[in-house]
C-alpha cells in the first residue's frame, strides 16, 4: 500500500493571526518514518491535527487512504487508522487506570469488553509495560506516561502513527527505549522532533516546515 497520505496545497490560519500554513504539500508512503522539523509555532502540530481532521484547513486537500476527506464524518475512519500521540501525555491519558485508557480506543471501535482486554494485554506486553496494567495513570512518571500514550494509540492497530514531539521531557534512557520501540514498529510515521539524535536514529526521511511550506525531502 503506497500513498497513505497526501496533503495538497494546505492553507491554514488561526483567527486574527497571520497564516501558519500557506500551501503545504506532503506525501506519506507505507514504511516511511518522516521526521518534521521547524521553528516553534511554525504549524507542525497544526499540520498533524489537520491530517486527522481535528482542524479544518481553509483550503487544500487532505487525501487519506486514497480518499479525499472533507467532512467530520469522513475523518472517523481516518482517526481509526491513524494514531496521533499528543505532545502532553496528560492530554491523552484521561482514564483512572492504564488498562482502561488503552481499552478506550478499541471499545470505541466496537470491540467487546473481552476483546478489548485481550488487546490491552497484548499491546502492553509488546511494549514491555505489562506490569503497568492496573497503575493509576496520573501517578506514572513522564517516561512511563509517554509509553502508555503510545500504547493507547497502538491498541487501535493503526496504519499510520503521528508523534508530536515524543521525546520532550524524556531522559536519555527513556529516549533510547522509545527509539528502540519506534524502530521496531511497522507503521508509517510522521514525527515532529527537535531531538537531533532521535531523528538520526529513526528517520527514513526529513522534512522541514518553513514559512508555511514543507521543504524536503532530504534522504538521511
Amino acid at each position: 500500500m503506497s500513498g497513505l497520505f497526501r496533503l495538497e496545497n494546505i492553507h491554514f490560519s488561526w483567527p486574527g493571526r497571520d497564516a501558519v500554513l500557506c500551501g503545504a504539500n506532503m506525501q506519506l508512503d507505507a514504511g516511511e518514518r518522516v521526521c518534521m522539523t521547524g521553528y516553534n509555532g511554525a504549524g507542525k502540530s497544526t499540520l498533524l491535527h489537520i491530517m486527522v481532521g481535528l482542524l479544518k484547513p481553509s483550503s487544500g486537500k487532505v487525501i487519506a487512504f486514497g480518499h479525499h476527506r472533507q467532512k467530520e464524518a469522513d475523518f472517523f475512519e481516518v482517526r481509526r487508522r491513524v494514531g496521533l500521540v499528543f505532545q502532553d501525555a496528560d492530554d491523552q491519558l484521561f482514564c483512572p487506570t492504564v488498562a482502561e485508557d488503552v481499552a478506550f480506543g478499541p471499545l470505541n471501535c466496537g470491540k467487546s469488553r473481552d476483546q478489548a482486554l485481550a488487546i490491552v494485554g497484548k499491546v502492553l506486553l509488546d511494549l514491555g509495560i505489562a506490569h503497568f496494567r492496573d497503575r493509576v495513570t496520573h501517578k506514572l512518571s513522564g517516561g512511563e506516561k509517554r509509553l502508555v500514550s503510545l500504547a493507547t494509540v497502538l491498541a487501535m492497530e493503526p496504519d499510520v502513527l503521528l508523534l508530536d514531539e515524543p521525546t520532550t521531557a524524556l531522559d536519555e534512557r527513556a529516549t533510547q527505549r522509545l527509539i528502540e520501540i519506534v524502530q521496531q514498529l511497522p507503521q508509517a510515521m510522521v514525527i515532529i522532533s527537535h531531538d537531533r539524535h532521535f531523528r538520526r536514529q529513526v528517520a527514513t526521511r526529513s522534512i522541514s516546515l518553513i514559512d508555511g511550506v514543507l521543504d524536503g525531502p532530504e534522504a538521511t
Binding site: 491535527h49 486527522v52 481535528l54 472517523f76 482517526r79 481509526r80 491513524v82 494514531g83 496521533l84 499528543f86 502532553d88 496528560d90 492530554d91 491523552q92 484521561f94 482514564c95 483512572p96 487506570t97 488498562a99 482502561e100 481499552a103 478506550f104 480506543g105 471499545l107 470505541n108 471501535c109 469488553r113 478489548a116 482486554l117 493509576v136 495513570t137 496520573h138 493507547t152 494509540v153 487501535m156
Partner: protein
Amino acid sequence: MQTEPVLHSDAPDCVLQVDTKNVSLILEHADPRLRIIAAIIWSVIVVSLNSFPALLFALGLSLLVLCLARLPWRMTLGRMLAMDGFIVFMLVILPFTMPGDVVFSIGPLDASLQGFDKAGKIAIKANASILMVLVLVGSLDASKFGHALARLRVPENFVHLLLFTIRYIDVLHDEYKRSRLAMKARGFRSGSNMHSYRTFGYLVGMILVRSMERSERILMAMKCRGFQGRLYVLDQLKWRLPDSYLAAILLCVCLMPLIVELVHVRAL
C-alpha cells in the same frame, strides 16, 4: 465533645491489637459497593436517632471502627474537623435562635436549653456519620469509588465527571504550583495591595484559560481514538461470600444504635 472521645480511642486500640490487621484487610478486599451502601445506611440511621445515649453510643461505635480499621486516625480526625468547620457556625448560632428556656444571655441574645440540645445532637450526628463515611468510603481509592458508583447505577455522567475531576485536579494543582513558583522566582510576595490582587487575578484567570485549552486538547485526543460520546467502565465487581458475611456484620453494627435508642425510650 470532639477531643474527649479521642482519648477513649486509645484504649480499644491496645486491647484489640491482634485483630485490627485483619479488619483493615477485610475492608480492603470488600466489595466497594458494600462499603458505600453500608456508609449510607449508617448515616441514615444515625441521623434518625433522637436520644443522647444512642447518639453517643453511635459516635463511640464510629470511633471504635475507626481504630479497628487502622486508618491513620490523626489524618481522619483532621478531615472530620474540616467538616466540623462547615457546621460550627450553625452550631454556635443555634442556641441563640431557638426559642425555649433561657440559660444565659449575651446582650439582647438569649441562649436556650433546647437550642443547646439541638446543637449537641447535630454535632454528634454529623461527626458519627462522617467518621463512618471516612472509614468505609474515604479509604477507597478514587477509581474504585467511581466504578462502584457506576455499578450502583449512579448516572454515568456524574461518575465520569467525578473521575475526570479526580484525574485532572492534580494536573491543575501542578500548574498552579508551577505558576506560584515562577512568581516567587521573580520576587513576588503577596500582601494586601492592588498589585497582589491583580497578580492573583491573572493567576486564576490563566489557570482557567489553561484548563479550558487542556479540556479542548483532551477532547481532541479522545476524538482521535474514536470517541463518539460514550465512555466505558471496564472492571466488573464480583460479590463474593466474605462480602455477605461483612454485610451481615455491618448491618448489625448499623442496627446497634437503633436498639440502644429503643431500649432508652422504653426505659423512659
